[in-house]
Symmetry: C2
Subunit: 233 residues, 2 copies
C-alpha cells in the first residue's frame, strides 16, 4: 500500500478531523502535489467543512475541492438523518453514526478525480483500531478497494493502477497525534466531534470526542480542542 518514491500526485480525502489532517501531513511529506477532496454529504456537522478548509490552507495543497453530494436521502445514520440521535455513550457493534457505504462512495469519488489528475495514489485516514466498528475501515476492505481500482479506470487498464494508501490504518490514536504533531499539524484547526455547536465547538461526550480526548492524554500532547462550556471532557 506504499506509494513509493515516484508518486508525484495524490488525492487526499480530507474531512477536517484529526485523522485526515494527519494523513494530509503525511502525504505532503511523501508526495509532490496533494489534491485535497472534501465531501459535503449533507452531514449535520457543517463546521467540519470549515475545519477542512482551514487544514488544507495550513498544510498547503495544490487544490482543494469540496464536492457537494447529498447522502441524506439514503438515511440510516445519525450523521445524516435528523431523526436519529447522536449517542452520548460508547455503543456495541456497528454504531448509528456509521454512514452506509461512506468510504466506498468517498473512495469512488477520489478515484474519479485521481483518474483525471493522473494521480498515482489516494490517501485516506481510515483507522482499524479506533474505527468504532465501521466495516469500511478494515484492512481487508481497503485491499479489496485497491483491487477494484486496478480494474475500474483507464489508468488501471493501462497498467498504472491508483494505489490506496491508509497510513494510519494500524496506529492507535495517541500515535496518530504524535505523528501529526511531529509533522506540524495544528490540531486546534481540526474538528472531530459528531455533534458540534454552530460555532464548531465540540460536545466532549460523543464516541469521537472521547477517542480524541483520550488520545491527547495518552500521547502526552496538550489538547487544543475547543469544547463548549457544558462539555465534560
Amino acid at each position: 500500500m506504499c506509494p513509493g518514491a515516484d508518486t508525484t500526485r495524490a488525492v487526499v480525502l480530507l474531512s477536517g478531523g484529526l485523522d485526515s489532517a494527519t494523513t494530509l501531513a503525511i502525504a505532503r511529506a511523501e508526495v509532490g502535489a496533494c489534491y485535497a477532496l472534501t465531501v459535503d454529504y449533507g452531514q449535520r456537522h457543517r463546521a467540519e467543512l470549515d475545519a477542512a478548509r482551514r487544514v488544507a490552507r495550513a498544510l498547503g495543497v495544490a487544490d482543494h475541492r469540496i464536492a457537494r453530494f447529498d447522502l441524506s436521502w439514503i438515511g440510516g445514520s445519525a450523521l445524516t438523518d435528523p431523526g436519529i440521535a447522536v449517542p452520548d455513550h460508547p455503543s456495541a457493534g456497528i454504531p448509528v453514526t456509521y454512514v452506509p457505504a461512506r468510504n466506498t462512495i468517498f473512495l469512488a469519488l477520489a478515484l474519479g478525480w485521481a483518474e483525471v489528475l493522473n494521480a498515482e495514489a489516494i490517501y485516506i485516514g481510515a483507522n482499524a483500531i479506533d474505527y468504532s466498528g465501521y466495516p469500511d475501515c478494515r484492512p481487508e476492505y481497503l485491499e479489496a478497494f485497491g483491487r477494484l481500482a486496478a480494474l475500474a479506470t483507464r489508468a488501471g487498464v493501462e497498467g498504472r493502477p491508483t494505489r490506496i494508501r491508509a497510513p494510519l490504518l494500524e496506529l492507535p490514536k495517541a500515535e496518530i497525534i504524535k505523528t501529526g504533531a511531529r509533522l506540524g499539524v495544528d490540531f486546534g484547526l481540526t474538528l472531530s466531534c459528531y455533534d458540534p455547536d454552530d460555532g464548531g465547538r465540540a460536545c466532549g461526550v460523543c464516541d469521537s470526542c472521547r477517542l480524541r480526548a483520550e488520545g491527547f492524554r495518552a500521547a502526552g500532547v496538550a489538547d487544543p480542542t475547543h469544547y463548549r462550556a457544558t462539555a465534560s471532557a
Copy 2:
C-alpha cells in the same frame, strides 16, 4: 451473480436508457420490490432524467430516487465537461464519453441505499459487448465490486453480502432489445443519445445512437426512437 429466488428487494440503477430499462424489467420479473436509483450527476443530457422518470413509472417500482451528485467538477468527460465535444464517429480505445469511475460511484451509492433498505441485490445494466471501451463495464470489474461489497457493509459483515447482478453483461444489443420487448418495455420512453436536444430527441450520430439503431435493425424490432429532423440514423 444470480440473486436467487429469495431476493425480495433490489436496488436497480436506472439511467433512462434502453439497457437500464431492460434491466429494470428483468428485475421486476425476478424480485419482489424494486427500488430505482437515478444519479443526476450534472450530465449534459438532462432529458435522460425525464426518461428515467417515465420508465420507472411505466414498469412499476416501490420507490424511485434521483440522487443529485455533481460530477462536473471532476471533468475529463464529454458527458459532464462542456469543453469536450461529443464525437460523431466511433473512437478507438476508451472514448471521451467515459466518465471517470462512474460505475464505481453509482454502485457505491446503490450499495449505501441497499444497506439501508436491506436489499439483497443491486441490478446494473452494464454490458461488456457494446460497452464502447469502458473499463468499468467488464465482468472482472463487476466481480471485484461484488467482493468489495461483501466487505464494505453491515450486511456483508453479518454474512448477507449484497449481490451485484448484471443480467445484460454478455448480451449483444439486439438480444437486449428482444428481451426488453418480450418483457413489455416501451422503448419509446427511453433515451440513449449522448447529445439529445432540449426536447429529448436523439442526434442519431453519436456512438450510443449508432449502437441503438443497429440493435433495433438486428433484432427486427421497430425503432421507436424520436430523432431530430437533421439526424441521419
